[in-house]
Amino acid sequence: MTKTLGSIRQCVHNENMPVKVKLFASMREYLDLNETEIPIENIETVADVWQAIAGDKPMPENTLCAVNLEHTNEAAGISDGDEVAFFPPVTGG
């Protein structure tokens, strides 16, 4: 039984999609990173995604974030396969 459970868990684990991360404008330059993927493991919130890609670099004041093309905040939960984006205040129009 333990072995079976283990293999099921392994199987679910393999199906996990990575989290896609995108950076725009001055944020891309700040982290020198355009786009990347990170494993979902240990990622629960947007803030965790930031730490995974930025390490010690603090998140600049006024940073905006989006999950799956919707504006959200650092506390928002992340599921596998989500697309997370970080960017500065928007300046269109």
């Binding site: 989006a66 093309l69 500065p88 205040p89 928007v90 300046t91 269109g92 129009g93």
Partner: protein, 148 residues
């Protein structure tokens, strides 16, 4: 309704004419429009060119949500929204928003609302190249509802 992310120059007044030609004449009484144009100066500096970056996918969905929201709030016959991306030179149009309605209050207010919502929610970013060849990201948009 028409929403366009435009990778090349566009002519707002011609776009309005073309869009309106497809509408039923006599069905609307009010058209409020706004055109944002690239200036050759900003914050006291001469600007030579600009690059407008966006977030493909999110930009379109945010703009669509903003338009849907306006249709919920005001009785609009039609909305046209065109936004330029890429490399832009002074004098070129950046954004066009137009609202058609039976009466002016709805057209005016929806047009204004669309622009303010676009400026605060739609993922676009401007990088200016100054006449002294340095470049800088525009850090924030100018105030919306105050001018006196």
């Amino acid at each position: 309704m028409a929403l366009e992310i435009c990778h090349h120059g566009f002519k707002p007044w011609q776009a309005l004419q073309a869009h309106q030609d497809r509408m039923q004449p006599g069905s609307f009484g009010a058209t409020a429009t706004f055109v944002g144009t690239m200036r050759d100066f900003n914050e006291g500096d001469g600007v030579q060119s600009m690059t407008l970056e966006h977030y493909p996918g999110m930009t379109e969905s945010q703009l669509q949500a903003i338009i849907d929201d306006a249709h919920q709030q005001w009785p609009l016959q039609d909305v046209l929204l065109i936004h330029r991306v890429g490399d832009i030179e002074p004098g070129e149009p950046i954004v066009l928003v137009a609202c058609w309605s039976a009466h002016r209050a709805a057209a005016f207010e929806a047009c204004r609302h669309l622009m303010e919502a676009l400026k605060s929610r739609a993922p676009f970013w401007k990088k200016e190249t100054l006449t002294n060849q340095s470049s800088r990201w525009v850090e924030k948009n100018t105030a919306g509802y105050s001018s006196h």
